[in-house]
Symmetry: C2
Subunit: 340 residues, 2 copies
Amino acid sequence: MSAPIIAIDAMGGDFGPRNIVQASLACLTATPSLHLVLVGQAPLIEELVSGHEAVDRSRLRVIHASEAIAMDERPSQALRGKPDSSMRVALELVASGQAQACVSAGNTGALMALSRFVLKTLPGIDRPAMIAAIPTRSGHCQLLDLGANVDCSAEALYQFAVMGSVLAEILGVATPRVALLNVGTEDIKGNQQVKRAAGLLQSASGLNYIGYVEGDGLYRGEADVVVCDGFVGNVLLKSSEGLATMIAARIETLFQRNLLSRAVGALALPLLKRLQTDLAPARHNGASLLGLQGVVVKSHGSASVSGFQSAIQRAIVESGENLPQRLRGRLETVFQGGRT
Amino acid sequence: MSAPIIAIDAMGGDFGPRNIVQASLACLTATPSLHLVLVGQAPLIEELVSGHEAVDRSRLRVIHASEAIAMDERPSQALRGKPDSSMRVALELVASGQAQACVSAGNTGALMALSRFVLKTLPGIDRPAMIAAIPTRSGHCQLLDLGANVDCSAEALYQFAVMGSVLAEILGVATPRVALLNVGTEDIKGNQQVKRAAGLLQSASGLNYIGYVEGDGLYRGEADVVVCDGFVGNVLLKSSEGLATMIAARIETLFQRNLLSRAVGALALPLLKRLQTDLAPARHNGASLLGLQGVVVKSHGSASVSGFQSAIQRAIVESGENLPQRLRGRLETVFQGGRT
């Protein structure tokens, strides 16, 4: 793997550049071959960098961008009204080949719109999808879309299924079981988009499409790739995170009742904390925007320093694996083999 | 409360009438004022009843219905093609005043279609919604729709919000906080239906509409009533159930690792089992079809005997509380006060 260069949108997220700079410097220390480009308010970033010791400036560039995109800004405004935003400049570094990946904790809708505009989608893909792995009883499952597309056509769901399957293959699953998330497993169940997507997937070649899976089947590990629209995926991910947190809090309370239970609670709590982390991949590990001609990783807006570090790590892996190029190759095969 | 008469669709569900008959007889024993009407294949039901001892036949009628609706049958077929189905005959007993409520574990779509046709909806309500309470960090929240309506207009979401609020009031919440489930809390977030429903709710009088809530906010207890379309609600409910089961299994494994942890695991497991029950209200307690001119409770298709008993119990409470009449009264006030 050659030395990766990652462009960082230093102005995105709920907490401003402080956490992002700190996470970036930690990654530079942890990965000696890594080069980073921090994009945003250069004086502010330089000041934050100068507060840290022993920074290898030969691997750290700062590029000034005069604008920042607010978390509640409309994507259309971010696209048309801010040509010099930190997010856009970071993406342009990927488009021009000066960086291999972009990481941002900023406005999801704006990142989606700008990524499509600056990087373009892969052939056959209309809209990128956000994907992350969630834990199941038998391992993990790749869930997409997680919120980048609140409304999805049947064609979009079909494309997500193909992309998810290819990603799962790249990550080592031999013949990924691909399913559509639905409210029942019978043919008559679901809305029109899901039913039509099922028809497209049934006639697709080179895909191990196994049919519908329900919310409980997902956690039972019935599929390796689960496809849904971004509204449903976002609600599923966030409610799972909330539920895991609630269960952990209830068990914590239970274990505080007496000395014995307090002593033994220590046994269960690390497992629960680990589960909570697993269940909030977007918050802790970043989620990928899949289907673009470049690697883009979205970190959670309120990610901690270690959360943003994980997102950078994910970008290093995906660019090292040449994910977009491999995705393009496999997509061509699947689309040629199936419907045209 | 006068003696309630509940009509039971004895042929619905995944396991046939055996569990349903057993649950019905257990309810008759537990509630001495209760009268039940079992509707379905009379010879089969009579045979199952005769296998039990000490049945008070003065409180148990069996009404023959020559047809049964399959779990995967299209609602339109159930509506037009089966005039003598057990589900329909049971609902007709409610419509004619011979019973105060109907309980079915059968095909949800058919129950929805037949309930609307036989019982009609309340004034101002286009489509009934399925509602159940789910646990939160601070208590419970009423979630609707849980799967009766996979696609919902903004107007439908608005009506669900009003109905959910009224039910929460009836159940004792003084000024229920009503929220729309969304992928973010900013105004620009969400699909068109949700954004338009927000507009309708903002201008509604007599409602404590608090805005958007996300999946994690729901479990944090940010609202007393959470409104979404049936696709999203169904996925949320079933994935929560699946996740709770998965967490319980993982903790069970953890506690089996050594003697000490095995001994102490007993402390945590009852809590987890309780949580699992709480998180599967449709499976364990039944869910109500809200907005009809009559009480209809849907038991889960694979409900256990105790699960079906809980559904009958719910029907007893709702008919005792005159839920449809009280709902009608409050709906008139809200709809008159707000938009016309």
